[in-house]
């Protein structure tokens, strides 16, 4: 009788956890995908890393204590996966010589349909291209911090938790990144 009850409780807990995780996936998957897409500029790779991120999160779901938000926790996994990917790629460069990342022109083509005139659209496209160019030249850490701040619009404290850096270090990286982007965007007027 007691055994059956324990089994029932365990079953219910498992079901609740599964539902919770499904809701987490539904809520945060687009955002994780967007961050990875902006970091890699490769749709297939972003898709693969997003899946790996949620697979890893599912495996470790029981160990998630809720110290930070689920989004921060997932973002931390995504950042680590992306880091591992580039590290492996550097080590095993001979395995895959060509990158599938789209070029900057293609990445800059995407604009919301809000721009009124063709001239405005062209100007916006040019600005986006310059930002992409400078983001490409940033170090891995600067790029991550920059994208989290200006694409994902995260607070500095959230970025610090997601990257595992102190807030001061995040500020320093962000300041350098913004300086470089500003020089690129403002310097070529």
């Amino acid at each position: 009788m007691t055994g059956a009850t324990a089994e029932e409780i365990a079953g219910r807990e498992l079901e609740t956890a599964t539902q919770e995780f499904a809701s987490i996936v539904a809520t945060h998957r687009p955002q994780i995908f967007r961050f990875l897409l902006a970091s890699t500029r490769d749709t297939d790779l972003a898709e693969t890393l997003t899946q790996e991120c949620f697979l890893k999160a599912h495996r470790n779901w029981a160990s998630f204590r809720g110290d930070s938000s689920a989004m921060t926790w997932l973002m931390r996994i995504a950042i680590n996966l992306q880091k591992d990917h580039w590290r492996n790629r550097r080590m095993q460069f001979w395995r895959q010589t060509q990158t599938h990342a789209v070029d900057l022109d293609e990445a800059s083509e995407w604009l919301p349909s809000g721009e009124s005139s063709a001239e405005q659209k062209l100007l916006a496209q040019e600005q986006v291209k310059r930002v992409w160019q400078s983001v490409k030249g940033l170090s891995e850490r600067q790029r991550t911090v920059f994208l989290l701040r200006y694409v994902e619009e995260q607070e500095l404290s959230e970025i610090a938790r997601a990257t595992g850096l102190s807030e001061g270090t995040v500020k320093a990286h962000l300041s350098r990144a913004v300086g470089r982007v500003r020089a690129e965007v403002g310097g070529k007027r």
Partner: protein, 149 residues
Amino acid sequence: MNFRDQYAGKPEGLEAQVEMRESEALDAEFEQALRNFRSSVHAWSEAAYNRPRTAAKTVRQRSWRLAAGWALGCLLVAGSVSGGVFEHHHRQELARIAAARAAEQQKQVAAQRAREEEDLLAKVDSDVSRQVPSAMEPLAQLMAEDESK
């Protein structure tokens, strides 16, 4: 007309104002660029996220490419190994044939030499037997005379 042109020839105190307004304009442009960048990434991500998935096809294509690469690699390795073995075998065969030919030639030379020696010996033999009479001939004549008597 930019701010600098607007304030050209004005007292120096305005310089700072000009710079500030230029900096503000730059900030505004930078802010706009960042906004456009954010909107662009969001639009791209949304489109990519909602696109029809072709992952399985891509994986299959990649695995086909991988399999074809492996097959080609194996074929090259097998080809070079079998080529090497064939070459080695071919060389051994040539060496064996050359050795057999040399042995055959030596045998022929030896046989020829033996034949020549034999002929020479026979010639010497016949010459010697013609010059020297039989040692028993006088005795045979005496015996023939005794019988006739």
